[in-house]
């Protein structure tokens, strides 16, 4: 190497170093962070606080805004549509979580080495890649009372026909089922990679101890899948609370607003033919945000503990 020959003294040359050079390691991260933080502040962090402010206004988005204090929240308190949406949000949260065990089940099913299994895994993942707009459309036809496969299948058992999307009692469940389809695929792929990391020695040891099937699964395999489960939980909760596309496409909130959730209701009051009530919409969004905040706090708390553990 050429620089071996350089006399030692030349390395001690830097006498006058600039401010940047002296503080390079402290300053550089901020230089790299500035563009990202700036973008994120302007479009994400500041708007969150702005929404809190907007929720105290009566404003149509164009004219003069009027400060009405907490009147929007008072109105929410007596708003039947709000309670319907809130109730549906909790149904979404509870049932959407089924994607996690369902995804684990399919992952276990496909976690074998037979010919062509890679292709099977990819094809099972397919629904997640497709836009929810298309998923909504497809499931709309699936439930169609005149020709939908769902009612044809019910007919085999002498049941139906049920107009799932036209019936207040079933509509939310029908939409959730449509949402579970891509979400299960997502959880499946998380678990498939998680399963790759399962320690075969522990499995063998447990087998020698006589652990079998469900016991093996629950006490040996599932604990090792904890990181995958955590991510699956995070993305499923977020997905449940963000549900908008499917509702908008499949029922547009109907029949009679019975399939609304907060995220859809918010959009409806702020940006649709029901009038441009930005303040009221923001108030709905704030409630949704506060529900999400419970989960965000938990997620961050878990991540914080893990970071400390490293």
């Amino acid at each position: 190497m050429a620089n071996v020959a350089v006399p030692q003294s030349e390395y001690q040359a830097p006498k006058e170093r600039g401010w940047y050079k002296r503080n390079e390691i402290a300053v550089t991260p901020w230089l790299f962070l500035i563009p990202g933080i700036l973008f994120f502040m302007v479009y994400v962090i500041i708007p969150i606080f702005q929404s809190f402010y907007y929720s105290t206004l009566s404003w149509d988005g164009l004219g003069e805004a009027q400060n009405v204090g907490l009147a929007n929240y008072a109105e929410l308190w007596d708003d039947g549509a709000f309670y319907t949406s809130l109730k549906n949000n909790f149904i979404w949260l509870a049932l959407y979580l089924l994607a996690i065990p369902a995804g684990l089940f399919i992952a276990l099913l496909l976690n074998q080495t037979v010919w062509g299994i890679r292709l099977y895994k990819s094809l099972f993942f397919f629904p997640f890649v497709i836009s929810q707009v298309v998923v909504g459309l497809v499931f709309g036809w699936f439930y169609d009372p005149t020709f939908g496969l769902f009612n044809i299948a019910l007919g085999w058992f002498g049941l139906g026909p049920i107009n799932v999307l036209g019936d207040e009692a079933y509509v939310t469940y029908g939409i959730i089922a449509a949402g579970l389809w891509p979400q299960t695929a997502y959880c499946m792929i998380l678990y498939l990679t998680g399963l790759n990391a399962v320690d075969p020695e522990q499995i063998e040891a447990a087998r020698l101890d006589g652990a079998k099937r469900l016991k093996m699964l629950w006490y040996v395999v599932v604990p090792q899948l904890k990181p995958a489960t955590f991510i699956a939980f995070v993305v499923t909760i977020i997905g449940a609370l963000r549900s908008f596309d499917l509702i908008s496409i499949m029922t547009n909130g109907g029949p009679f607003g019975s399939s609304r959730v907060l995220s859809f209701y918010m959009f409806e009051v702020a940006l649709s033919e029901y009038g441009f009530r930005m303040g009221y919409g923001a108030a709905v969004a704030v409630v949704l945000f506060l529900i999400m905040l419970v989960f965000i706090t938990y997620f961050l708390y878990s991540m914080y503990n893990e970071e400390k553990g490293r």
């Binding site: 550089t28 991260p29 790299f32 962070l33 990202g36 933080i37 994120f40 302007v42 479009y43 994400v44 708007p47 969150i48 702005q50 929404s51 907007y54 988005g61 074998q112 037979v114 099977y120 990819s122 094809l123 099972f124 397919f126 890649v129 497709i130 836009s131 929810q132 707009v133 298309v134 459309l137 036809w141 699936f142 496969l149 044809i152 998380l190 990679t193 990391a197 699964l217 395999v221 990181p227 995958a228 955590f230 991510i231 995070v234 977020i238 908008f244 596309d245 496409i249 995220s263 959009f267 940006l271 930005m278 919409g281 969004a285 949704l288 945000f289 999400m292 965000i296 997620f299 991540m303």
Partner: protein, 281 residues
């Protein structure tokens, strides 16, 4: 099932398993197969009630031809013009933020990181009114750049999480060795870390492409016309135009869904690596 490899079970079980796979797959993808079937049927099949039977004639070319003769190509182009700059923007921003948060130890590090993560988790609706307002004020409402700017900003949260975790897992000795050699921090970023980031960036690019291509909410909130709406929003107006024309709606849906699907199959490895990065240490 799982812990026992299938090779160790009896031949009967093995055959049953192999026979079950295609059946399960068919059931799983039935809704999609239905759409594919619909898209090659003639209009007449639907009026005569032949929904699920064999198509009476193959009208695939006619149906898809009609789709390409409509506004759909324009919507597809819009989607590309929205998606590709967003992917590039995200790669630039998050390789920098990921580098800063993954390599340097400073007090605010974890809090900046948590800001990105928390922001990435918020429901879109809390941002809707202010972001729409901001976009209007900038004169970017109903334009492609308006949508792109927001997408870049929002996705930076996820991408930072992704890149930072990836960079954390790299051997830190590389950076230390480079520092001992007296290499500047910028050059460490560009010549030491950047080459190592490539697989992660590829994985992330596929993911972001899919996310943005499939976005519907922001397309509806920030755009409204054929000159700027992406295909997810376009397909709804296409469908309104051809209401009850199931063969055309199906063909349109398939065309709209195709790019992310193609992306997924071309870059399968990256995609799956991307989704599971962070799930498994």
């Amino acid at each position: 099932m799982f812990p026992t490899p299938i090779e160790k079970s009896t031949p009967g079980v093995q055959i049953a398993y192999k026979a079950m796979l295609p059946v399960a797959l068919l059931v799983w993808l039935a809704p999609l197969l239905a759409v594919a079937l619909f898209s090659i049927k003639p209009d007449a099949d639907f009026t005569t009630g032949n929904y699920w039977g064999w198509p009476t004639s193959f009208e695939g070319f006619a149906n898809y031809g009609l789709v390409f003769g409509s506004d759909m190509p324009r919507y597809m182009l819009n989607s590309l013009l929205i998606t590709i700059p967003t992917v590039i923007g995200c790669i630039i921003l998050s390789s920098m933020t990921g580098f800063a948060l993954g390599i340097y130890k400073f007090k605010a590090n974890i809090w900046v990181f948590f800001m990105f993560v928390a922001g990435n988790f918020v429901p879109f609706q809390i941002l809707m009114v202010p972001v729409r307002d901001l976009t209007l004020d900038m004169g970017l409402y109903n334009t492609i750049p308006g949508l792109v700017l927001f997408h870049i900003a929002f996705q930076t949260g996820f991408c930072t999480l992704f890149m930072r975790n990836f960079i954390r897992a790299l051997p830190f000795e590389l950076v230390e060795a480079a520092r001992v050699e007296g290499i500047s921090e910028f050059r460490i970023f560009w010549f030491v870390i950047m080459p190592l980031m490539k697989p992660a960036l590829a994985a992330m690019a596929v993911l972001i492409f899919t996310f943005i291509w499939n976005d519907y909410f922001w397309a509806v909130v920030l755009t409204q016309g054929v000159e700027s709406q992406p295909v997810t929003a376009g397909i709804t107006s296409f469908n309104a135009q051809f209401r009850a024309a199931y063969h055309l709606m199906s063909a349109g849906s398939i065309v709209a869904a195709l790019p992310p699907v193609a992306m997924f199959f071309l870059m399968q490895k990256h995609f799956i690596a991307g989704l599971t990065l962070g799930a498994v240490k």
